[in-house]
């Protein structure tokens, strides 16, 4: 195939899912579909520049047609190349004769209308040379030839070429804005650390994951119930490369990267945010003094939940099913902390259930024995 793209490095397959092109039907020129290089990691995946592609969307004129019993092969020409499209015939048209005859008369006949609708649908699936075909499907290579295995195809009625023209006008900008650009991580995900790290997303995500694990491990091991961010900040120091030890206080290099302390602080803040979102930790009161409670170690919280469940499960309304999780949440919020997140409550409920203090009756109802 072409040696044009070989210079581009193939990204690791774990990151493919982050590229929106991967999940979309890529609207590529047939020329590019024919020249895309195959992935070295996963068969059936192709690369247009740095974008992994396995399904495409093509519009063009049918210039070749070969019919078989089960399928039709159409050669589709979009003026940059011709590609074979394998279109399966639908089973339901197989024995589609004119079994239902028009009954005549001006009476509305649902069956007749349905037949007409089916007829119209079927006529869209049968193409001849010269028709315009739109096809979506996966790219395959069989016998050294690229082809498209159609998952959806239909004849486009385009008497004044409006559809073809608008596509021709659209494609160059689509290429310029999307396919020809190397995939980069949206800045809000990468955060500040990614700017400092050359690897962009992968490095920062890995770092964040590692920081989260370190914090969780520490909290579990030491059975920490409450902490302030600066208590745990030192744990993250080994994760970031320390600047070369320069005794001079004045910054010699006005480097683009933020100073070490800021990097650590940002990483810590992001990690704590993730832990909060997971419900591992929560802040009991929102005060300038940033104190985090560790959900599983918060005896008062667990007691409050138990109290709510014990009291309310007795009430007639809840005897049968137990209390809904949202009911527990609002009661605990009133009783204990208005700032408790649902995620944190779930973590606490899971712990209580593991300890057999409570049981779940449905996936969102809990009761005590």
């Amino acid at each position: 195939m072409s040696d044009k793209g070989d210079a581009e490095e193939e990204p690791p397959h774990l990151l493919w899912g982050l590229d929106p092109v991967f999940k979309a039907f890529a609207r590529l020129y047939v020329k590019d579909i024919l020249q895309m290089r195959q992935s070295r990691q996963v068969p059936g995946i192709y690369f247009y520049k740095t974008h992994p592609v396995f399904q495409v969307d093509v519009l063009g004129t049918v210039v070749y047609r070969r019919e078989r019993e089960d399928f039709c092969c159409y050669g589709v020409d979009d003026s940059t190349g011709v590609i074979n499209c394998l279109c399966w015939k639908d089973e339901k048209w197989r024995d589609f004769g004119d079994s239902v005859k028009g009954r005549g008369g001006g009476v509305f006949d649902a069956e007749e209308q349905l037949r007409k609708l089916r007829e119209a649908q079927r006529s869209r699936m049968e193409l001849d040379i010269g028709d315009v075909l739109r096809v979506r499907g996966t790219v395959k290579t069989s016998r050294q030839q690229r082809e498209i295995m159609a998952s959806c195809f239909y004849k486009v009625s385009d008497p004044v070429m409006a559809v073809q023209i608008s596509r021709m006008l659209e494609m160059p900008s689509l290429y310029r804005d999307c396919y020809d650009r190397p995939f980069s991580v949206p800045p809000h995900q990468a955060g500040t650390a990614a700017a400092a790290e050359p690897g962009g997303l992968s490095d920062f995500q890995l770092l964040l994951g590692r920081a989260g694990r370190i914090l969780k491990e520490f909290l579990r091991e030491k059975e920490v119930a409450r902490f302030r961010p600066y208590d745990v900040e030192y744990l993250l120091h080994p994760l970031l490369p320390r600047p070369a030890a320069t005794p001079s206080v004045g910054q010699e290099l006005p480097s683009a990267a933020p100073p070490f302390a800021t990097q650590v602080w940002n990483l810590l803040k992001d990690s704590l945010k993730i832990l909060q979102d997971e419900g591992e930790i929560f802040r009991k009161v929102l005060s300038p003094d940033e104190v985090y409670n560790v959900t599983e170690q918060d005896k008062d919280l667990l007691a409050a939940i138990m109290d709510v469940l014990r009291e309310d499960s007795k009430r007639e309304k809840y005897t049968e099913k137990g209390c809904h999780v949202l009911h527990v949440l609002s009661s605990v919020r009133q009783r204990y902390s208005r700032n408790l997140s649902r995620e944190a409550l779930q973590v606490a409920l899971r712990l209580l259930e593991c300890n057999s203090d409570i049981i779940s009756t449905t996936d969102s109802h809990y009761t005590v024995l």
């Binding site: 020329k31 004129t61 020409d77 940059t80 010269g130 290429y175």
Partner: protein, 140 residues
Amino acid sequence: MLPAHATFYFPWEIRTDAIKDGTSLRTCWVFQRDPSAPFLCAQTLRLASYLPEESRAVLTCVRASVQHQVSVRTTFVEPFHPVIGAQYIVLGETEKAEGGDAILHARVLTCVDGVDVALLQKAVDEQRSFFKDRDGPGPE
């Protein structure tokens, strides 16, 4: 076997293009998809231009007050009902006819009467300039 792809050419480009590359392989297979060729404007040309017995049609278009004319062999697309004065798009191969003129052997001849020619021209130009920017100038 799939046929080669058909690049867009405007009617006024066909003649020069075909003759310039007269000997290269590509030439015999210069594929034309002729966008804005009105099928024989009856007002401007008096003679009837579809000759069924010869399987030959003539398409003309006027650009910058110069009339361009393309002969089309229609053996592959018959039977064929000509609409005199309508706009057609032709997809096919150029061949050298006797007398040195290029004749287009049509594989697809579609009536696209009412097409926005200016917009089509813009779309073709856009596509060409995109490929020129990306792939650099062609081999010629």
